[in-house]
Amino acid sequence: MSMTHPAPASVDAAASSPIYALQAVIREYQQKNRKIRALAGVDLEIREGEFVTIQGPTGGGKSTLLQMLGALDRPTSGAVKLGDVDLANASNAKLGRVRATEVGFVFQGFNLIPTLTAHENVDMGLEPLGLSSAERASRVTEALAQVGLAERADHLPGELSGGQQQRVAIARAIAKRPRVLLADEPTGNLDEHMRDEILELLEGLNRDGLTLIVVTHDSAVARRAHRRLRLEKGSVREI
């Protein structure tokens, strides 16, 4: 059973509307009296239902770009639009709302709460939505089933393998039924077998209509994508 996502289940993503539109995005940081330019004028469109990977060397700005797309950070200049929402100029409350409802995030280190069970970790992702407890329980069960961990719902992260923990993290991200799933090196801490499991899971979600943007330096992951982008010295190009 797959969860429904707002995006159309269309194989031809090129025909769908852009979910993300970035224009001349620049992001600079101050670090020890030095100005670091992580993004140097990025122009990019990503359409609904696409599976996009972003590759590049360490320090090239990949995570910064992902955080921009995930409404975790604002550009120093330029425009970042998620649908009709201008992420560059939205209020903090609006950005929080976007993170709660529109965007699912998966991290390299899983970032699960170690004292909570798998069920409770997934439930944490639904906390901001204000759903009834029955609806929340239903979605959690559905999400864990979708990632194949229905029988591990009451296990703590420490009792799960790396691959299983990442599945729980994915379940937490998709339980809210987001428009887009952003993953920052989701297979970075996993062995080959677990990496393939996670990739299959992500591909399955994409087939169901979920827009997928994955930062990776693993070419095996990148090969599975519809579009491959390379971010180097703050600039993006298609590969």
Partner: protein, 485 residues
């Protein structure tokens, strides 16, 4: 989810939770015990005052201090036929009833004058006296005068308690209070109850009757119906009285009717102290001023002035608890709060990735801050509960041990130089008389102390939570996630 997350976090960080809770617990227990002891010492001081000055006495009026050289001078005088002689030894004994020579007396009409003033609810008067009994043995003086004993070339001295012509003398005293049995609303009689026999009544005016303090009676083996020597007269004991406070004695050893006291002491219609009760606490200062303005040559003392007469370990205990105890409580509380704040901030810093992740998945600042604050408040409440239990246990132990503290209030009595023939010359100076009271120290448990403990616990948690929450609120999710790679 809120309580599940909170519970799991506190359980997962047991060491930190315990340190913060124990720190707060120690502080709160100390605050409870110190406050309770302070209240206990205040109660003890009030008891000590009550036993001397009675219940409800707001002011006392006494005569002005005597000038040096004034007053006093009553002497024990024995004529040549005084005493009983047996086997060459003469035994003498004499009792005198004297007022405090250091302070003048007041006309008894002062009581009514004071009672008629505005703001005075009640007034009573009493005459404080000291009965001093001089007794002893000496060689038969008639033998010395006839046979030239002791003179050069005469027979060797004999007689006396040592059989060799020596003498031995004793000086004993007890306090006597002349009272008006009709005036019991305020003053020493308001704090006593009859344990045997009866109290003095108006019908006892002019009669040689007395009621005796139970502790004095027990110590001196005085029973109901016995007669005692008061000022050289035999007075019948018609009642034994005790203080209404089980932990204190009454104001004097013996109580006799006021007119009898005046007569036996050779005084006019006077009193030594007027006890005054004001209509309300607000009126005390005004009444004090009014008395000082309308009655000449008097000293008017308020409760705090009276308290200063209660000396010794009671006021030392009060100082120790109030000063050292309070400062120690404040210091320990400050340290506990600092610990709680530091641990909370440290915990938030350590959970940077966790809070960054929560914000990344949509948790608002308020939600994250609320979680941090909630954890701190619960830690505070745990500390408060432990502190309350330890504090109450400490109070229980104090009340189980029931330490006693002695308190004394000083008055001066009078003796006088002896006179008469023979070698018994010279004088005896005035003696200080002290009313000693043993007071049992209790540590009362009051509702406000319990409420204060809970309040401190919650406040401690809120303060720590505020600092931690502020730290968590400042966390940018992007920076938080960047900082841990």
């Amino acid at each position: 989810m809120y309580w599940t997350y909170l519970r799991r976090e506190l359980a997962g960080r047991k060491k930190q939770t315990i340190i913060v809770a124990v720190g707060l617990a120690v502080a709160i227990a100390l605050v409870i015990v110190v406050n309770s002891l302070s209240a206990g010492v205040r109660d003890a001081q009030a008891q000590a005052l009550e036993s001397v000055y009675g219940v409800g006495t707001d002011l006392t009026v006494t005569g002005a201090a005597a000038e040096p050289g004034e007053g006093g001078g009553q002497r024990f005088e024995f004529d040549s036929e005084a005493g009983e002689t047996t086997d060459g030894t003469t035994s003498v004994s004499q009792s005198r009833l004297t007022a405090d020579f250091m302070r003048g007396t007041l006309d008894a009409a002062t009581v009514e004058n004071v009672a008629s003033l505005d703001g005075v609810a009640a007034a009573s008067g009493a005459l404080s006296l000291t009965n001093i009994t001089f007794s002893g043995e000496m060689p038969d003086r008639s033998q010395m005068q006839q046979g030239g004993q002791g003179e050069a070339g005469g027979e060797p001295p004999s007689g006396g308690p040592d059989g060799a012509g020596g003498s031995a003398f004793d000086l004993n005293s007890f306090t006597v209070l002349g009272i008006d049995p009709d005036d019991t609303a305020v003053g020493p009689l308001s704090a006593v109850e009859v344990s045997e026999g009866r109290a003095l009544t108006a019908d006892d005016a002019g009669e040689l009757v007395a009621v005796v303090d139970a502790t004095y009676a027990s110590t001196n083996e005085i029973a109901l119906g016995d007669t005692i020597d008061v000022g050289g007269s035999n007075v019948e004991v018609v009642g034994i009285i005790t203080s209404t406070s089980s932990d204190a004695d009454t104001a004097a050893n013996v109580y006799i009717p006021l007119d009898v006291a005046q007569s036996l002491a050779g005084l006019d219609d006077v009193v030594s102290t007027v006890y005054v009760q004001a209509t309300s606490a607000d009126q005390i200062e005004a009444v004090q001023a009014e008395i000082e303005g309308s009655v000449a040559d008097v000293t008017v003392s308020s409760q705090s002035d009276l308290a200063s007469t209660v000396s010794s370990s009671l006021s030392s205990a009060s100082s120790l608890i109030t000063n050292l105890g309070t400062w120690l409580s404040v210091l320990v509380l400050a340290v506990a709060l600092a610990l709680a704040v530091l641990f909370t901030i440290s915990g938030v810093t350590r959970r940077t990735r966790e809070f960054g992740t929560l914000k990344a998945i949509g948790w608002s600042n308020g939600r994250v801050v609320g979680q941090v604050a909630g954890e701190s408040v619960i830690q505070g409440l745990i500390g408060g509960a432990i502190g309350l239990a330890v504090g109450l246990a400490g109070i229980g132990i104090i009340n189980l041990i029931t330490p006693t503290i002695s308190s004394t209030s000083s008055t001066t009595g009078q003796g006088g130089p002896g006179q008469g023939g023979g070698p018994m010359g010279g004088g005896f100076g005035g003696m200080a008389q002290q009313t000693a009271t043993e007071v049992v120290l209790h540590a009362p448990v009051t509702l406000w102390v319990v409420a204060a403990a809970v309040g401190i616990a919650i406040a401690g948690g809120l303060i720590a939570g505020a600092f931690g929450g502020w730290r968590a609120a400042r966390l940018s999710p992007a920076e938080a996630l960047r900082s841990v790679g």
